[in-house]
Symmetry: C2
Subunit: 221 residues, 2 copies
């Protein structure tokens, strides 16, 4: 009997002025060669100690991105999703700042608005939609959105990110209270960002211990 096809797919998300984007790449091989699709690939039994390592390898190979926030999303499987046969895709999602994408080595990254996805091969649309739903859901009560913000950022910038993900304006005082009680940020000494004729904003960075782990809030927002 044909063995089950075991693959990894990565939903690489970033935030641009226009909104949330997913990275798509032109497929090199059949099936669907030439079509835009999620970065993905086979699990290499000899190189990959586990699926997470495979995900990091695939992401690095396809985009040159090395240490993103990366989390397992879900596993998509079945006889119907791939014409080659019964297949498993262990899907991960990665969050990076727009800056990281710009610096990435891959020339062919197509950043596509997640609200206007083109037709995609396999069940990649479902996978992206699942990732976006997960991100939006976790934005309600965790530090997850910080990973879209880059190495340093101001509180107003961070609030705009949360607002974009949650789809509603947030109260400034409440937002700052929450972020403050999460205790995930540290101010950058003497770091300020001026964006025009007004008071400059303090720059912050994620505390080391929250670069990989999330902080969850008891009560959301």
């Amino acid at each position: 009997m044909k063995p089950i096809i075991c693959t990894i797919d990565i939903v690489l998300l970033t935030l641009e002025p226009g909104g949330l984007k997913a990275a798509l790449l032109k497929r090199d091989h059949e099936p669907h060669a030439g079509a835009l699709a999620l970065p993905g690939g086979y699990i290499h039994e000899l190189d990959d100690p586990d699926a997470r390592s495979a995900a990091l390898r695939v992401l690095d190979n396809k985009t040159g991105i090395r240490s993103p926030y990366l989390e397992q999303l879900a596993t998509f499987s079945g006889a119907a999703r791939d014409p080659r046969g019964w297949s498993i895709s262990i899907a991960y999602y990665a969050l990076v700042s727009a800056e990281i994408i710009r610096q990435s080595s891959a020339a062919g990254i197509a950043l596509t608005s997640v609200d206007a996805l083109p037709a995609l091969p396999f069940d990649h649309r479902t996978i992206i939609e699942t990732a976006v739903a997960r991100l939006r859901s976790k934005s309600q009560y965790s530090s997850l959105p910080c990973h879209l913000a880059g190495a340093q950022f101001t509180l107003p910038q961070l609030q705009r990110i949360y607002e974009l993900l949650m789809g509603e304006p947030l109260n400034k005082v409440s937002f700052r209270r929450k972020i403050s009680e999460m205790d995930i940020l540290e101010p950058i000494e003497g770091g300020f960002e001026t964006q025009g004729a007004h008071r400059p904003a303090q720059l912050y960075r994620l505390k080391q211990e929250f670069r990989e782990e999330l902080k969850l809030l008891e009560r959301g927002l």
Copy 2:
């Protein structure tokens, strides 16, 4: 090259007076034949349209349980977890009432307290701990615990379930306010349960539309 081993494991959870229990079965085959382990099995490419169907088939075959609340947990993988080779286990968790377990056809179900797990083969301890953490986490802000409560139950019973999962006493008035605003229960006309010399409690059941889907709360508890 040897193909990747593709399996399903089920964390079947139920609530007994002593606390939260996971169902373990004696393994029929090597490796670890005779040891207690999670119900699991290979994906059958010919019989199973997808992993969820495989999970339902495995659970039914091993325990006779047919339509539990079932949700994908995570996928565990790697070269090291199974002596036979590089393996994938797509893990699901199922929640059923103690009554369902009692009625199940399988004779050999060992209900083991999740707080005192024995040594287990593979990474089954990790899988169970992940499932329990997921259940406890989702108990904070969803209708998930209702699936441990059986076909009909009183509000005091449901509150005790939530309290057991969350590990803290809950305010009665708040709990009822929350459950009421979730709007997931319907009273059973004329259904009351008396448990002694006191006022009997109204019996409720989950509304049909929440038997498979969860209801999430904006603000937890």
